[in-house]
Structures are given as structure tokens and as C-alpha cells.
């Protein structure tokens, strides 16, 4: 029999201090019954003697110390799952959103999960074609990777994520991704954008939606990504599916964590975020990957908006330290109307090296990649120089770099929301753009590939004739 306590002594922010308790466990799930009979959920953050500190997911508005009662449920927060979760919608705490979202659970799983044993992991190395050149060619995504999008407010991160979800395919395989879409504090409109896109593409029947919207309780967001990842792990490692998880917006998650930390009066780390933000984020982002002997996989695309477009802000910074690369969007490219406005220089896919090359994409991929980066970086430098000195002051070679950087942004990076480019097309486009350089300048490409590919593109170059 679970005991009920009416011994809340203090309410501060999202936290309750409860006294006179017995047998309460750390991280235990708590049920809070308000005077009006409504029920809220909480989690034990600390037990100290007969006292406990409880974080209330739905917030503490309306809770008073006299009549509110508290029950400790003896277990952590669980998500109830069965294969029927596909096509269903859940709240940020993993409860069915409406009657039609109810399922007959097959099992219940603690949403915190457990760390995957590094020894049990299999290295992600299967190329995912997203149809977006600046991703496939330069920041290649592989199945089982965690690759976030670092965006800014007003930038089209949602469109890019939706385009990836729509177009993502593994070459030569028919399997389609199941999608776990996790909305963390985003607006109704934004979430509706994704849902209608899933409906149009038919992905909706293979999707699980976990929704905590802007007007839903903020503290609940601490649980929301974990609910989503619990579903993803179930689908991937028990039902053998390839799962694409979209988490948006992780900035709202971090804000919720900060709020709790502030209410606990913890010594803040950088810019007011808790010192354990890195560790906490890792327990979310590391829930991606492949496992030896299992066919399923979890590919994570977290989205976050960088406060003030600042990459060194703790949220993007710590995320970048955990995830396997990052796709960074640029406001200036967006203003130039490039779509998608991906800033390729600071973007990175750490897992690309094992996902590209012969038998995966094409033998010349890695060299083309290196050359495009080197040339574009130099081209950007030259462009800056030209701003100061004028284009006329550039050397002949620098003029080519200048032109290259322009072409690269307009043709390679920019492609529009509905163009789905094959990897062949992306790689060929790279050759075409590089062909404006004299061969000697292409130092990062092996001779054999220059021999094999360059002539095909050189003759098309009008400047040559």
C-alpha cells in the first residue's frame, strides 16, 4: 500500500519540499493530488533524512502546502509501448494524447534507459542519401549517427529536417525509416508543419509523435526527449527498425534544466547553466547508434536554436562536444536566399569517413570532399580580401578562387527544398565546380582520379574553348 503524505513544507519554483517521509527513493516517480482532485507528476531529485525534494513536471501553480497530497510510486517514470505506438501521438510525459492514441501495452520501460556498453556498439557506416548536396557530399550522414542542426531563430531548420525525413534513403535498400518526432516546447504551428509533411509523404503511419508544445508545462520537457528515445530504442532494438529521431528544440530542454537548477540554488556553470549540462545532454544524445547483432538503428537529428546565433553558447557548444558533428545554418546565406543555408565550413560529420568511398558512395568522394573544402575556404578568404582591396587587386589565381566560392554557394549549397539529388549528381557537381582550376591546383585529389574524372568536366567548361 502506498502511503499518502500531506507534508509539503515549501514550494519554490517547480520544486516541492516534502517532510516526514519514509522509504522514499532517489529519482522515484511522485503523484501529486491537488485539492481539486487533479493529478500531477513529479520526480524525486534528492532525499535527505525524512525530507525529499520533488520536481513537478506540470509546474507548481495551484499547489498549496496544506491540502495537496503526495504519493511516492516506488519506480521511475515509465513509457508503455507496443508495436501499435506507430501512428500514435503522446504527451511530453508519454501519455496518450487522445482516446485514439491509447494502446494495449506490451511492456513498460524506464524512460531513463541505461548506457549502451561501448563494447556492444557497432560502428555506424551505412551512407544515408538525404538528397541534399551539402550534407551528402560534405557532411555525410550515416545510419546510427547523431547529427544536430544548429540554427537560429527564424532560420529554416524545420524545413531542412523535414526534407531529410522525406528524402532519407539507404542506397540499394528498400527499408524505410520509422520516425520518432519529439517536439520540445515548439509552437503548435511548427509541430503542425512536421505533421502535415509526414501526412503528405505517408510517413505518418510509421511515426511516433511525442508532443510538448510551447503552452505545455515547461518542466515536463526534461522527460520529453527521454520518452521519445525510449520509443526509438524499442522500435530499433526490439522491433529491428531503422529509426530517425527528430528532437526539436533542444534549447527549450536546456532551459527547463536550467530552471530546475536555479530553483535548487545550485552553483551555476557557464552562463547560468548547470555544471552537469554536458553529462545530462550526453544521456540523451548517446542514445543513438547501432548495436552488434541487431539490425535496427537509431539516427538522431536534434535541432537547437543558438541564442544570438552564438556557436559558443553552452547549449550548442556542449552539444557539439557530444554529437557526431553538426550542421550549422547561416543567417547571411539565408539572407542571400540560399536554400538550404548551410554554412559548410564549420559544419562537420565525424562519421563520414567510414560511410563514403568505394562501394558506399564513390571512390573519389573523400578526395573531392577535401578539395571542395580547401577551395571554398580559400575562396572565402579571397572574398574577404576583395572586400577590402577590390577585386582588381587579386592575383589571377585568387580570382578563380573568388569565382569558385560564388559558384559553389549558388549551385552546390543552394538547391531548393524539393530537389532530391543523387550522390552521383552531387559528386559530379563537385567536379564541375572544381574544373575551373588548373589541374595542379587540385592538390588534394589523387592523380588517378584526376585522370579519370577531370577530363569529363573540363571540356564542358566554356572558358576553355
Amino acid at each position: 500500500m502506498l502511503k499518502e503524505y500531506k507534508s509539503i513544507v515549501n514550494v519554490s519554483g517547480p520544486l516541492l519540499h516534502v517532510e516526514g517521509l519514509e522509504g522514499v527513493k532517489y529519482e522515484e516517480l511522485v503523484e501529486i493530488r491537488l485539492v481539486d482532485g487533479s493529478i500531477r507528476n513529479g520526480k524525486v531529485l534528492e532525499v535527505d533524512g525524512d525530507k525529499a525534494l520533488v520536481q513537478v513536471f506540470e509546474g507548481t501553480t495551484g499547489i498549496e502546502t496544506e491540502k495537496t497530497s503526495v504519493r511516492f510510486l516506488g519506480r521511475g517514470i515509465h513509457m508503455y509501448v507496443s508495436p501499435d505506438i506507430l501512428g500514435k501521438v503522446f504527451t511530453g510525459l508519454g501519455r496518450p494524447k487522445t482516446e485514439r492514441d491509447k494502446i494495449i501495452p506490451e511492456k513498460s520501460i524506464d524512460i531513463n534507459g541505461a548506457p549502451i556498453n561501448p563494447y556492444a556498439r557497432d560502428y555506424p557506416n551505412e551512407f544515408i542519401q538525404t538528397g541534399i548536396s551539402s550534407i551528402d557530399g560534405l557532411n555525410t550522414l550515416v545510419r546510427g549517427q547523431k547529427l544536430p542542426i544548429f540554427s537560429g531563430s527564424g532560420l529554416p531548420h524545420n524545413r531542412i529536417a523535414a526534407q531529410i525525413a522525406r528524402q532519407a534513403a539507404v542506397l540499394g535498400k528498400k527499408e524505410e525509416f520509422a520516425v520518432v518526432f519529439v517536439a520540445i516546447g515548439i509552437t503548435f504551428e511548427e509541430s503542425q508543419f512536421f505533421i502535415s509533411d509526414f501526412e503528405k509523404s505517408g510517413a505518418i503511419s510509421r511515426s511516433v509523435l511525442i508532443l510538448n508544445l510551447a503552452n505545455d508545462p515547461a518542466i515536463e520537457r526534461i522527460a520529453t526527449p527521454r520518452v521519445g528515445l525510449t520509443c526509438a530504442e524499442y522500435l530499433a532494438f526490439e522491433l529491428n527498425m531503422h529509426v530517425l529521431v527528430i528532437l526539436t528544440d533542444m534549447t527549450n530542454y536546456c532551459e527547463a534544466l536550467k530552471e530546475v537548477s536555479a530553483a535548487r540554488k545550485e552553483v551555476p556553470g557557464r552562463r547560468g547553466y548547470p555544471g552537469y549540462l554536458y553529462t545530462d545532454l550526453a544521456t540523451i544524445y548517446e542514445r543513438a547508434g547501432r548495436i552488434k547483432g541487431k539490425t535496427g538503428s537509431i539516427t538522431q537529428i536534434p535541432i537547437l536554436t543558438m541564442p544570438e546565433d552564438d556557436k559558443t553558447h553552452p547549449i550548442p557548444d556542449l552539444t557539439g562536444y557530444i554529437t557526431e558533428g553538426q550542421i550549422i545554418l547561416s543567417r547571411s546565406l539565408h539572407k542571400k536566399k540560399l536554400s538550404p543555408p548551410i554554412d559548410v565550413l564549420p559544419s562537420l560529420s565525424r562519421l563520414k569517413d567510414k560511410g563514403i568511398g568505394k562501394g558506399k558512395t564513390r571512390e573519389d568522394h573523400s578526395d573531392i570532399f577535401n578539395q571542395l573544402y580547401a577551395a571554398y575556404a580559400r575562396g572565402k578568404e579571397v572574398q574577404e580580401l576583395a572586400v577590402i582591396l577590390g577585386e582588381a587587386a587579386l592575383t589571377d589565381m585568387d580570382k578563380i578562387y573568388f569565382k569558385f566560392a560564388e559558384n559553389f554557394e549558388n549551385e552546390y549549397v543552394s538547391q531548393g527544398e524539393y530537389e532530391n539529388r543523387s550522390i552521383e549528381k552531387t559528386l559530379d557537381l563537385g567536379w564541375k565546380l572544381l574544373s575551373i582550376f588548373p589541374r595542379e591546383e587540385l592538390k588534394r585529389i589523387r592523380d588517378e582520379y584526376l585522370d579519370k574524372y577531370l577530363p569529363r568536366f573540363k571540356k564542358e567548361e566554356p572558358g576553355e574553348s
Binding site: 529519482e27 541505461a114 556498453n117 561501448p118 563494447y119 552537469y276 548517446e286 542514445r287 548495436i291
Partner: protein, 586 residues
């Protein structure tokens, strides 16, 4: 046995238990019936603060704490090489066998295989007088590692008996008659991780530790037994450098600590190392490697312990006279683990919330490196432990307390720059900001054993690079036309040094490892080109002709010349001469 403690508080990885008199600081305890492993890190009256190495969810007030009376130790003996451990020396493969894909709590596994039989070959004989550190015998643990069995610390006397044959680590292989009675020696010994292993004497490093990475060996070299740090923002190449060193560094034993970093990076090493072979011995790299993996999502207290577990294992092999390299990626995560625990203990925070003792902990960690005369009564065995730590400062900002505390103690600084990484110039080690304080120590050795003018070439190359950065300022103000032909040659040569020498692709089958002989030839060639071209310019030649010389293409590709064919680099010199003379004729 002391009495049971009782939990009075649980806050994340920190548990407080009362009734703990009888236990000591840093004793290991077992928390609750789930038997979670923890370590005492503070006392207040009879209440002990305990950092718990496993998740504490579900633990509550009133549950028992079982004292063990011993500190956190590692088990040292045959079977360590090729292992992958978590931060408290639990083999991850055995956890996997027991618990499956996820690391569940309370899994108890032996650090070393206690059933496997090893062939023990004696070195000492019956009747020999031996003291601590002396070799009793060895086990050929892998084709390249002789695992010496040493007389345990604090033991000395006459060998009463010594075996020869197949034994497990629990069997007695020798018996030593000491002042205090007979001591049975087994092949395994324990050592408390927070205590450095003793040696006779420290010696200052005087040999280089080559890594096959050009920017390191030529510009900012390591010394055997030295220390280095690699700070840089995310994506700047810290982990790749650590992996490259683990693969190619000229050491005999590698200890790789993945401290609070990505799971897949450890998997990468696990899958790749058995395939890659050591260029010297031709044996798979795994046969000289020990891995500690306490990834970012694994418990934070065990992450704190992981660096100590790693360095103790490294010291143990150093004591056998090996040159050991320890790579820690990333020490910042270790520091953050300290910060987190310190915060829960409500200690007075210092800079950025780090505990005030951060600097002291970092210094004493790196101080466990060095070249030492090993503890042993009979010979001059010398071992070396080199320590290379990655540092991950927030936002790449080098004023970070962990970076600053590290720079105060290490002798080599490889500064990674985001801008180099963005243009995919790897390794993104800044040639202007990095330094090595070992050049004086090792220059005699290098002159004698590699090339007399090795460091002269380096000095000349460095001068050109520094000059380049000055000239770039001028170009930015007034344009390229303002430069003299000689200055433009400097820019051209600097670019060659950067692109054709410093840039090194870790994922290219040849370029990934560059032996020093090849590095020397490459640098020598670029400087040769520079000198020839400069003479030619002095004759009034047009710089544009030099900029478009065909031989530059061959120079650009010399890094891809196979390590077995490096003489081919010499032939490029002739081509330089021929091309310049043909230019002169024109």
C-alpha cells in the same frame, strides 16, 4: 569487519551515510542491497560522503552501506593488454557477456581472467636474493609484450622456490623467504589507484618520442617520458590526434583513456586496432594496447576514477622498463566530474565552479609521467611514461581554468584552431601558437640518430611561416602587388610548407603515418626548393615563372610516396634543378 552504515541522503552520484566510523577516506564501500560500488570522499562526524560509481536511482534513506576497508585498487597481472575496461577496471566485454547491450547496475565481474593459464617462465632462481621490483619471471602475454612478474612492493628476501610452467594468476609462482616470514608471490598484484607507484629515481627526458605526425615530430616534438596537451574546440581534431598517436607513436605499451567522450569513438578503436599493424613489429596494434572507456553517458564518478585507473596501469608497465604512452581524451571531462561531485558536496567553488584543488589534481596527475629508474635492486632498468591529454575548453576559449592549469604543468602545447579545421587543414595544430619545450632535451639525440640539421631545417621553416603571417598582414592592407619577388617566394614556400608538409590526412592509407626519415626528406626538399628559387630570383627572375613551376606538383604529392620508397623524394631535387635551368635558358 566494521559495522554497517546507513544512508541518510541521496543526491545524484553523492550518497551520505552515517555510522561510518571505522572506515577511512577513499575506502571503497558497497551501497544498498544493489551492491553499488562507491568511494568515501569526505567525512563529517560519523557520516561519510560517498561518490557512487553507478547510477543511484531507486536508492533511498535507511538502506545499508557495507564497508570494505580497502581503497580503490586495480588488479595488475597478465591479461591486462587488449582489455577494454570501464573507469573502475570492470572489463566491458565481461559486462556485456553478463548483462547484454546495456550496462546495468551492480554487475560484478573480475578485472582479470582468473581461470586462464599463462606460461610462467622464471628469470630468477631458487636461492637468489631479491627485492621489490626485481623480475621473478615473465609471461609472454602477446607476441610483443613480455609481462614481467615483479617482486611485490615491500617484499625482499631469498627465493625459496620458483615455478616454471602453466599457471593462473591466482596460483603461487614463487615463494620468498623474508624477515617477516615466507611470502607467496602470485602473478597478480593490487595497487591503489590514487597513489603513484614508486620508483628509484626520476631522470629528465632526453629522447624524442616520434609519432609519425609531421607537424608534431618536426615542429613541436614530444619527449619520451614527457607531457603534452591538446586543447581545442569541438571538431578541431583532438580525438583524431589522440587516435593517431595511439596508433603510430613509437612506444611499447599504449593506455588509451576515453574519459567522458563518445561511445562510438571507443568502438572505432576496438574495431580498428586489431586490424592495424604496428609499423615496427608488424603485429596488430591491439597487442600493445589497454583501453579504459568511461563514456559521457556512463556514471560520472567512475569517470573521475578512470584517469587514475589508466595511469596506474601505465605505471605498472613502466615499472617493467617499457616506454608507455598514456592518452587521455578528454581531461576536461574528468575535471567536470570533479566539479560535479564537489558541487554536490557543497564545497566552496573556485573559478567557473571548479573546486579550488583543480590545479593541484591536474598537476599531480601529469607528475606521474616521466622517465624513471625502476624500482629494482639489481639493474638499471629504465622505464618511461609519456602523458598526452586532450582538453575541451568551452567555446574553445583557452582562458578556461582546465586549460590554464594544464599549461602550467605540461611541456608541449599543441594548440588547435577552429579556422584550420574549417578549411580541413588537419592536423589543425597552429604553427604559430604551439610550442614544445623539449627541443633542447632531445636535440643531441636527434642530431646523432636522425640528421644533424634536423632542427636547422625546422628553424628555417618556422622563420618562413612567421614571415608569412607578417606578409599576410601587408597583403590585407595593400594587396599582393606591393610585395617584392622575394616576399612572394616566402608566401609560396610557406604555402608549400603548410599544404605539402604540415597538412596530413589521417585517413589516407600512406599519409596517416610518416616516418621521421621521410619527414626529414620532405622538409629538406621544400627548403631546397626555396633556396634554389631564391638564388634564381636574385638573378632577376620573374616570380610568376616560379609560381607555375611544374615540379611543384610533384612536391605536393610527395607525402603520398610509400614509406618504403622514400628515396624517390630525392629525385625531385634533380627535377627542381632541371626546371630552373630550363627557365634560366629561356
Amino acid at each position: 569487519m566494521s559495522k554497517l552504515g546507513k544512508i541518510i541522503k541521496v543526491a545524484g552520484p553523492l550518497v551520505v551515510a552515517e555510522n561510518m566510523t571505522g572506515s577511512k577516506m577513499f575506502d571503497i564501500v558497497s551501497v544498498s542491497e544493489k551492491k553499488l560500488m562507491g568511494e568515501i570522499i569526505g567525512f563529517s562526524g560519523d557520516a561519510a560522503s560517498i561518490q557512487v560509481y553507478e547510477e543511484t536511482g531507486g536508492i533511498g534513506v535507511g538502506e545499508p552501506v557495507y564497508p570494505t576497508g580497502v581503497p580503490l585498487t586495480v588488479e595488475l597481472g597478465p591479461g591486462i593488454i587488449e582489455s577494454i575496461y570501464d573507469g573502475i577496471q570492470r572489463p566491458l566485454n565481461k559486462i556485456y557477456d553478463k548483462a547484454g547491450d546495456y550496462i546495468t547496475r551492480g554487475v560484478q565481474v573480475e578485472a582479470l581472467d582468473t581461470e586462464k593459464k599463462w606460461k610462467f617462465e622464471p628469470i630468477a632462481k631458487k636461492g637468489d636474493n631479491v627485492s621489490e621490483g626485481d623480475f621473478l619471471g615473465f609471461v609472454q602475454e602477446t607476441p610483443i609484450i613480455k609481462h614481467y612478474i615483479m617482486v611485490p612492493f615491500g617484499t625482499a628476501g631469498e627465493i625459496k622456490s620458483i615455478e616454471d610452467g602453466e599457471f593462473t594468476i591466482k596460483d603461487t609462482v614463487a615463494c620468498i623467504k623474508t624477515k617477516n616470514g615466507d611470502v607467496d608471490v602470485k602473478m597478480v598484484q593490487k595497487w591503489p589507484v590514487r597513489e603513484q607507484r614508486p620508483y628509484t629515481e626520476k631522470i629528465s627526458p632526453d629522447m624524442p618520442l616520434f609519432t609519425g605526425q609531421r607537424v608534431i615530430d618536426m615542429f613541436f616534438p614530444l619527449a619520451r617520458g614527457g607531457t603534452a596537451c591538446v586543447p581545442g574546440p569541438f571538431g578541431s581534431g583532438k580525438t583524431v590526434i589522440q587516435h593517431q598517436l595511439a596508433k603510430w607513436v613509437d612506444a611499447e605499451v599504449i593506455v588509451y583513456i576515453g574519459c567522458g567522450e563518445r561511445g562510438n569513438e571507443m568502438t572505432d578503436v576496438l574495431l580498428e586496432f586489431p586490424e592495424l599493424v604496428d609499423p615496427k613489429s608488424g603485429i596488430p596494434l591491439m597487442k600493445r594496447t589497454v583501453m579504459i572507456a568511461n563514456t559521457s553517458n556512463m556514471p560520472v564518478a567512475a569517470r573521475e576514477a578512470s584517469v587514475y585507473t589508466g595511469i596506474t596501469i601505465a605505471e605498472y608497465f613502466r615499472d617493467m622498463g617499457y616506454s608507455v604512452a598514456l592518452l587521455a581524451d578528454s581531461t576536461s571531462r574528468w575535471a567536470e566530474a570533479m566539479r560535479e561531485i564537489s558541487g554536490r558536496l557543497e564545497e566552496m567553488p573556485g573559478e567557473e565552479g571548479y573546486p579550488a584543488y583543480l590545479g593541484a589534481k591536474i598537476a599531480s596527475f601529469y607528475e606521474r609521467s616521466g622517465v624513471v629508474k625502476c624500482l629494482s635492486g639489481e639493474n638499471d632498468r629504465v622505464g618511461a611514461l609519456s602523458v598526452i591529454g586532450a582538453v575541451s575548453p568551452p567555446g574553445g576559449d583557452l582562458s578556461d581554468p582546465v586549460v590554464q592549469a594544464t599549461l602550467r604543468v605540461v611541456k608541449v602545447f599543441w594548440s588547435l584552431e577552429a579556422n584550420l579545421a574549417y578549411s580541413r587543414h588537419f592536423p589543425a595544430i597552429s604553427w604559430l601558437n604551439s610550442y614544445s619545450l623539449y627541443i633542447d632535451n632531445i636535440s643531441d639525440y636527434v642530431k646523432k640518430n636522425v640528421k644533424d640539421d634536423y632542427f636547422d631545417l625546422q628553424t628555417e621553416a618556422m622563420r618562413i611561416l612567421e614571415k608569412e603571417s607578417e606578409l599576410e598582414e601587408i597583403v590585407r592592407l595593400v594587396g599582393m602587388d606591393a610585395l617584392s619577388a622575394e616576399d612572394r617566394l616566402i608566401l609560396l614556400t610557406a604555402r608549400m610548407i603548410r599544404e605539402d608538409f604540415l597538412h596530413q590526412n589521417a585517413f589516407h592509407e600512406v599519409d596517416t603515418y610518416s616516418p621521421v626519415e621521410k619527414q626529414y626528406k620532405m622538409m629538406d626538399l621544400i627548403i631546397y626548393f626555396y633556396n634554389q628559387a631564391r638564388d634564381y630570383i636574385k638573378l632577376g627572375a620573374d616570380i610568376k615563372l616560379i609560381e607555375t613551376m611544374k615540379v611543384r606538383n610533384r612536391i605536393a604529392r610527395m607525402k603520398y610516396i610509400k614509406n618504403t620508397e622514400i628515396e624517390k623524394i630525392d629525385t625531385i631535387k634533380e627535377e627542381i634543378n632541371t626546371e630552373i635551368s630550363s627557365l634560366i635558358e629561356e
